[in-house]
Amino acid sequence: MKFTLSWLKDHLDTDEPLEKLADKLTMIGLEVENIEDKAKALKPFTIAKVISAEQHPNADRLRVCMVDTGDGGAPVQVVCGAPNARAGLVSVFSPPGTYIPGKDITLGVGTIRGVESRGMLCSAAELHISNDHDGIMELPADAPIGAGYAEWAALGDPVIEINLTPNRQDCTGVHGIARDLAAADMGKFKDPSIKPIKGEFPCPVKVTVEDAALCPGFALRLVRGVKNGPSPEWLQKRLTAIGLRPINALVDITNFMTYDRARPLHVFDARKVKGNLVVRRARDGEALLALDGRAYNLDPSICVIADEHGVESLAGIMGGEASGCDENTTDVLIESALWNEINIAQTGRKLGINSDARYRFERGVDPAFMVPGLELATKLVMELCGGTPSENVVVGKAFGDDRVIDFPVTEVKRLSGIEVPQVEMKRILSHLGFMVAGPGPVVKVAVPSWRSDVHGKADIVEEVVRIYGVDKVPMTPFERGEDARKSVLTPLQLRTRRARRALASRGMVEAVTWSFITKPAAQLFGGGQRELEVANPIAADLSDMRPSLLPGLVAAAQANADRGFGDVVLFEVGQIFKGDRPQDQFMAASGVRRGLASSEGSGRHWSSSAQADVFDAKADALAVLAAVGAPMQALQIVAGGPGWLHPGRSGTIQIGPQNVLGHFGEMHPRALEALGADGPLMVFEVTLDRIPEAKKKATRAKPLIELSAFQPVSRDFAFIVDRAVKAGDIVRAAQGVDKKLITGVNVFDVYEGKGIDDGKKSIGIAVTIQPREKTLTDQEIEAVAAKIVAEVTKKTGGTLRA
């Protein structure tokens, strides 16, 4: 919402300086976004007269002008390139040191092709007041030489722009803004009553409203014998200042009323309207060429005003070209109506029209001002264009609903913490147009018709507090309460936090990628369902909610490789989506290692330069699980994984087949190809939600430690097994022999090749035996060893290596 200071002063009697008014506007909720003060910016530009303009000795296109700047001194020499620079021309001059807004430079004394130039004659574009840069400005011959240009041209009226919140439709007009300022002690509100203008004859055009829900009220009047032409200078200046283009007096009056009183109107050229007017839904196939020069195809969701020709206007949004007013208009129909806010918003969105009328109607205009607005418009038409008015035709309601709120005055203190004297509350509310009745403690507050945003007690508190001053609300310490200090995070939040630190501690770098990915990528990872497809994606490649973090991480790794950083290791801990219900959203932790980004570190190094491999990914996955408190003893590692992993170089981490916690492995080359990435890539993904929660312990104390007095014994075994036998099975078999005595089984050697038959491999395990009650005799140890050999043989078909 834009307006000028002098426009505001039409409605507010004030001597307050602009800065103070602007600060106050912001502090009462009408946030000032910008103040354009041309008088300030253009102060150094003065009116000057060109005394002589001679051809520049060294340049065909330049002239050397002697300029009378009106300061009483000698004429100033200026080199000028404008084709219209000529002796006798009155134009605008800027001395050296002036900042030229249109060029974003500060002028100096220059020498142009050998001739000194002490200033500049300016075009309108250089002053940023129009796009006109065809030569320097030409002012009337009688313009006062030496005077400030901005002042003379009446550019001195600062333009204030406020960032209006959608609840304040009353402030879409200057009148409403002035009311707020007056309530905030910034001056006296000028609110003269609007006198009805007596109609001289019945309005010949009848109005039928087919659907009162779309059009609660409609007022119309004919003014005959008007003379339409350019509007007077004061009106043109107002509109120009806020960026509107003056068109003709009748149209300018409607625009003026829109900004002055938040009352959009429409004017029809009565001679172009055939028959009576009907407010109705558009019919399929109807179209309208609107005043913006564009044709719109209509449908029954759109409310229109039609005559016997058909649709003449898009109700509350924009008029039609065919019935618009121009210089030849002699009879004008003025329409002041009320429209359904939601329908206006929907229509505006559907047709893509952002008009000043739509902006106000979708916020809801003051219903009680429908007829007074018509009267005021009639008065302006008669003043500017003459003519004889008809009587008003009014259909539907011309007033709003009465809203009276029972307001306990203590509500202000209860919600805001400020003590506002009751007299002051009453003063503020009355100034804003509310009527306050009763002595309290519960008063009756009647809400003015223009405040459709005020419905309840809290709204009244807001009115009082914003005008009284939010800065007066006392900062009040907030007691944290007596609750014990304990973790405020849910188990999943704690896991998320720990997962991040655990992975970063492994030298991995955390990325945050998009929640949406391409459909093919989503499908590759088991997603891509219709319920997870965004209906209105911002880009085609951000179309589906991710079922996994890996597509994003793989793309990120590739992007880094493309930038020359191929040995990259990234992780992400974030949400993934398996469906659209809350319980279908999971928290995953995933990582990707590329190139020489192994657990040892990234890149080539004298100590080792290993390619990242499956076991790095496995280590990452297990590190996360350990860090977040997964039951590590219960985890099973099963060979193989989903289709996007290399079938022979992947594993699944589970606690039984029903609870899969995650996967790790090398990305399948086909999956990489589908994702447009080069490999190999080592990846993992675990789902943090799937980890069973540890039992809550009654005490923080750890169980007593049992420190054995007896030395542990270690025995090594080497088994020859089929190549397909899993080392994990051998370890499990050995461990199972005696869970009490055997405290550790470690694979220390894996060997295939010379000395071992084809299709076989040798696995060396070291078994730690921890005696509990006494030192074991050799026989006892041998007995355990024999059981281990027997058990491994039984479970894996292996034989002890000779």
């Binding site: 912001t26 502090m27 909720g29 946030e31 959608p166 304040r168 939601i342 203190k413 919600l415 805001s416 913490g417 309840g456 007690k457 809290a458 508190v461 807001e462 507090v465 914003r466 939010v470 800065d471 609300v473 900062m475 009040t476 310490p477 907030f478 405020v488 995070l489 849910t490 991040r500 630190r501 970063a504 501690s505 492994r506 030298g507 770098v509 955390e510 990325a511 945050v512 998009w514 929640s515 497809e533 965004v534 209906a535 209105n536 911002i538 951000l542 909610m545 994003g552 992007a559 880094n560 990259v568 989506f577 659209d580 219900r581 809350p582 959203q585 040892e600 990234s602 190094h605 004298w606």
Partner: protein, 360 residues
């Protein structure tokens, strides 16, 4: 010189001349071994007369002791020299550069770090952390938050929708974290004190907007909390978060459908080229929106607005992260460029704590 003295001198000379322990051992064997020269002398004692044996025996034993001593001393010298030689041969180039320690190479994303900072501050004030799903219903994202159907306020949120279901309803991506307020109020009894950090979505993309971003919402519901408490909490939070001793904050009236009265909060700041300093300067920077929870929202969540009251606020996590850590372009947060992540990220052991300072 007697034969014995000659022998002794000769052996001692041989000991001194040995270069390694093996040579020393042969000297020892030659002298003291079973067939050694001194052992041979000792063997002659048996054939001597008692007097002769007495004198000769003492002399031979004396020589033997001397030799034994010399052998031990020489052995120590040789052992030490051998160790020195071995150590000299084991020298490595300690200037060879190492890889960065993993705890030095790893990085936490600035958003995660700020997330932890926020939680730390608000936990200290007695807030717990609530979360909700990214895919929400229209009811929780808008209707229960007092956004009337078709109201222009809904348009302030450019919403991502999913396809309509058979019953005509359609899910959406939450446009703010406020639906978590609704979920919290529907499932918990007051008093309520929670913060709700989370990912949010709007159709927007430029240097200051990305289609996904992050917000943290705060909610207090009890029987007495008012705007004054809200101001205090936000003031304390901003001081703690930006780690400054004092801050000037400006609260100004604004509009949000779900709060009444509604306020926006600006921080006084000075903008230099790449840095924003709070607590000084002439500029104001908008940082968050807040207000008293609208009675309609309380009612929609089954809470009586005449008995309970409270406030809520919401701010952009991305935005405050950028302000605090001098990040210029929002989009880079989601670019996963390792150069950027290494620069703006945090080391894993830099865990924000109140005792140790949030960021030091």
């Amino acid at each position: 010189m007697s034969d014995l003295a000659t022998l002794e001198t000769s052996i001692l000379d041989q000991i001194a001349a040995t270069g390694d322990e093996a040579a020393l051992e042969s000297v020892r064997v030659a002298a003291l071994g079973k067939k050694g020269s001194i052992s041979a002398l000792l063997a002659t004692l048996g054939k001597m007369s008692p007097d002769e044996r007495k004198t000769q025996g003492a002399a031979i034993n004396q020589a033997k002791d001397k030799v034994t001593e010399a052998l031990a001393a020489r052995r120590d010298v040789l052992k030490s020299a051998a160790l020195d030689a071995r150590l000299a041969s084991e020298t490595v180039d300690v200037t060879l550069p190492l890889r960065d320690a993993p705890t030095d190479a790893g990085r936490i994303h600035p958003l995660s770090q700020v997330w932890d900072e926020l939680t730390t501050i608000f936990a200290d004030m007695g807030f717990s952390v609530a979360e909700g799903p990214d895919i929400e219903t229209d009811d929780y994202n808008f209707t229960k938050l007092n956004f009337p159907e078709g109201h222009p306020a809904r348009e302030m949120h450019d919403t991502f929708f999913f396809h309509p279901k058979e019953d005509g309803s359609r899910m959406l991506l939450r446009t703010h974290t406020s639906p978590v307020q609704v979920r919290t109020m529907l499932t918990q009894k007051p008093p309520i004190r929670v913060i709700c950090p989370g990912r949010t979505y709007r159709i927007d993309s430029d240097a200051t907007h990305t289609p996904q971003f992050h917000q943290v919402e705060g909610l207090v519901i009890d029987k007495h909390s008012h705007l004054g408490h809200l101001k205090w909490i936000l003031h304390e939070f901003c001081k703690a978060f930006f780690e400054v001793d004092h801050l000037n904050m400006r609260f100004r009236p604004s509009f949000f459908p779900f709060t009444e009265p509604s306020l926006e909060v600006d921080l006084q700041c000075r903008r230099d080229k790449n840095e924003i300093r709070f607590g000084e300067g002439e500029d104001w920077m908008e940082i968050l929106g807040c207000g008293m929870v609208h009675p309609n929202v309380l009612r929609a969540c089954g809470i009586d607005p005449d008995e309970y009251q409270g406030f809520a606020w919401g701010m952009g996590i991305d935005r405050i992260a950028m302000l605090k850590y001098g990040i210029a372009d929002l989009r880079q947060l989601f670019d996963s460029d390792v150069r950027w992540l290494n620069h703006y990220g945090f080391k894993p052991l830099e865990v924000p704590t109140l005792a140790g300072g949030l960021s030091s």
